[in-house]
Amino acid sequence: MEEEKRKNRTELPKILVFACRWCGGIGAGRAGWKRLEIPASFRIIPVECAALVEPDAVFRALSSGMDGVAVLGCHVGGCRYNEANHAALKRLDLVKVLLDTTGIGGERLLLAFGTAHEDHQFAGIIRRFTDFLGKQPPLEPWTGFAKNADLRSEG
């Protein structure tokens, strides 16, 4: 069943990226200047700092049809806001635990810390994340309304 799903999924996995304006945001632009080819299936929401990403927004995204969420922040030590990114990292790590518990898989939330200049790394992680999510089963039963099938399956 999962196998079929995996096989007959045609479109690329949908990825939402929260990019800190100091690193991820600029990194994306630099990737463009270097004309790096990246799968066209991610959307960026620029944020002032990784700390501004609400965990609820991650759930919201997964629930409204994204296959994965990536949060890009600055290297530890490089945060412009007195290490606000530390606390963000801890919070989102706990989100991973929750996702793991419910079987969604914490890997669907990607935390990556870097700098604006690592544009090739930016392209790299987006590519790798896309490949990884491509191998994962899609998340239908979790999005939107419950299907009666699921209700019956538990009994």
Partner: protein, 565 residues
């Protein structure tokens, strides 16, 4: 609802063949009646500014959604046109169509077009919810408070006074001068400490711009950059001062190496400071000196190099060679820390003068021999690998500078940051004299151990930074942002719904949030002057009471919903 105008930049045909802009424009027009869409050849040239400005005026636009190139590219023209049309910066939302879309998806035009469409709809959705945070501003009080009248503090006070800024110079001791009162000479100039300090002291006495408060300390701090209200407790009661900026130059203490190298047991084992006092009284009568570096520094409990000990040992060793007939000086060190040109030259000079250097390992430090008095020292020379014993009369321990006791209380008062050793720490290497609180600057050994010369340099530097703050006529919350040219806004609380849980207070990296009691319950308040809009508070607020209007949760929700329709 506010009239929104969509501006799409063709970027001189850069997007042609990858993103079908015309199709997207039609979709936009079809789905949203209230928006009018314009395709333009460019948005970044000067001549565009007027054209767009006129366009927005005639449309009566209140908000603009622009599809153009990545952030950090040329935006001046667009901003100018917005200004002409009387639209706030917060009324602009941009979608990165060139770098973030066309150029990274060149191989996949349909995908790129799809993405461009989504990005634009996301931007529009966000724009509908985007709000502007209310700015607050206050007059700058053009006076400066300088804490500590050591070399750094004095230099700062004098140079500010020279610029016509009234200075309140607060000193814990009865006399100004700080560490310079305790030492005899300064390196690398080898000039008398007195000659260095006296002009400054004279200035403090004569210049009526400087008010000197001896035996005083800070007891209360309120306010923000541009207008601090500070309570000073002196011998004759407390008084309240107002200052636009604060310079903290309280210096550092000196470690007493109890139990190290038999200090305190043998009276011939003294510290660098005791030797300095000796020089002030006159030439010491011992002949053979040993200087032991890193006594209590670069060790597990004090894992830092105190910077000044090596040069001051060189200084005193050379004086021994010069001024004491038949004097001998040996420096036992782990590394000689004389970076730069002046100090390195100083190091060479000392070698020419005949000062001996013996390197030892951290593992086997030199051992002092002798029963009731110092007779000799046994050391394993790390460079030659053989043990040797030197006869001598005096042992001088180079002990590190250690953070002042009152750094902690000052930290509490000014809500500053201390580093792992207890010194005041800066925000970023590029701004070494600035703290995480705007308008409060650090200089001298309170920041990090430095020589008196460097301390004065830092004092002047801090004075310059303070001057930059005090020369403003007004200070406003959004002008204190760390983001050039843009308005990141600041945290805003809906007091009605705040539960007062205090999450924001404990998470805020700038201590901008605080709890206040309102009719029996607590509510959070944001000091807008401190807030830098990092958003930590937003993401820990349990019920979304704390928001940054420029980036509120409704925007995020709307964008997420539009991301993949």
């Amino acid at each position: 609802m506010a009239k929104t105008v969509v501006l799409l930049c063709r970027c001189f045909g850069e997007l042609d063949g990858i993103i079908a802009l015309d199709g997207i424009a039609d979709r936009l027009r079809a789905e949203r009646e209230d928006t009018s869409v314009y395709l333009l050849n460019s948005l970044c040239m000067e001549e565009d500014a007027h054209r767009i400005g006129a366009l927005l005026k005639q449309e009566g636009a209140r908000a603009v959604c622009a599809g153009l190139c990545a952030a950090g590219s040329k935006r001046e023209a667009l901003w100018e046109s917005l200004r002409n049309a009387g639209i706030e910066r917060s009324g602009l939302f941009t979608a990165d169509l060139r770098e973030g879309c066309a150029w990274i998806h060149q191989g996949n035009p349909p995908g790129a077009t799809e993405k461009a469409k989504d990005l634009l709809f996301m931007a529009l959705a966000a724009l509908d919810e985007k709000k502007a945070s209310a700015d607050v501003s206050a007059d700058v009080h053009p006076e400066c408070l300088v804490l500590g009248a050591g070399p750094a503090g004095l230099a700062a006070a004098v140079s500010l006074a020279g610029q016509g800024i009234p200075v309140h110079l607060v000193e814990r001791a009865a006399q100004p001068g700080g560490m310079l009162n305790l030492i005899s000479r300064t390196y690398p100039g080898d000039d008398h400490a007195k000659t260095r300090i006296e002009p400054l002291l004279r200035e403090v006495e004569t210049n009526n711009m400087i008010a000197f408060y001896p035996r005083s300390k800070v007891v209360s701090v309120r306010g923000f950059a541009g207008d601090f209200k500070i309570g000073i407790q002196g011998p004759d009661g407390t008084l309240r001062l107002r200052a636009g900026a604060v310079i903290i130059a309280t210096g550092a203490g000196v470690l007493l190496p109890r139990g190290l190298y038999r200090y305190g047991e043998l009276k011939q084992v003294i510290t660098q400071m005791e030797l300095e006092r000796q020089w002030i009284r006159g030439v010491p009568d011992d002949k053979r000196f040993a200087f032991i570096q890193c006594a209590g520094a670069r060790s597990p409990e004090r894992a830092y190099c105190s910077t000044i000990c090596c040069p001051s040992s060189l200084k005193n060793a050379m004086r021994v060679m010069e001024e004491i007939p038949g004097g001998e000086a040996t420096i036992f060190h782990r590394d000689i820390m004389t970076p730069g040109n002046l100090l390195e030259a100083y190091y060479r000079k000392s070698m020419e003068k005949g000062v001996r250097f013996i390197r030892f390992h951290e593992e086997d430090p030199p051992e002092i021999l002798g029963g009731d008095r110092v007779e000799a020292i046994r050391v394993r020379d790390a460079a030659r690998g053989k043990e040797q014993v030197l006869a001598l009369e005096k042992v001088v321990l180079s002990t590190p500078l250690v953070p002042n006791m009152d750094n902690r209380s000052l930290r509490e008062l000014f809500q500053l940051e201390l580093d792992s050793h207890g010194f005041f720490s800066e925000t970023y290497p590029l701004h070494p004299l600035e703290t995480r609180v705007d308008g409060i600057f650090i200089a001298g050994s309170a920041r990090w151990p430095v020589s008196s010369d460097k301390a004065m340099e830092q004092g002047e530097g801090a004075a310059m930074k303070a001057l930059g703050m005090l020369k403003r006529d007004r200070v406003s919350a959004l002008s204190l942002s760390r983001t050039p040219g843009e308005k990141p806004g600041h945290g805003t609380v809906e007091e009605r719904t705040c539960t007062g849980c205090g999450n924001c207070v404990s998470v805020c990296p700038f201590l901008a949030c605080s709890l206040q009691e309102r009719d029996g319950r607590f509510v959070s308040r944001v000091n807008k002057m401190r807030c830098k809009a990092c958003g930590s508070c937003v993401s820990v607020c349990p019920n979304g009471t704390m928001q940054i209007p420029e980036h509120n949760y409704r925007m995020v929700g709307a964008m997420i919903r539009r991301a993949f329709p």
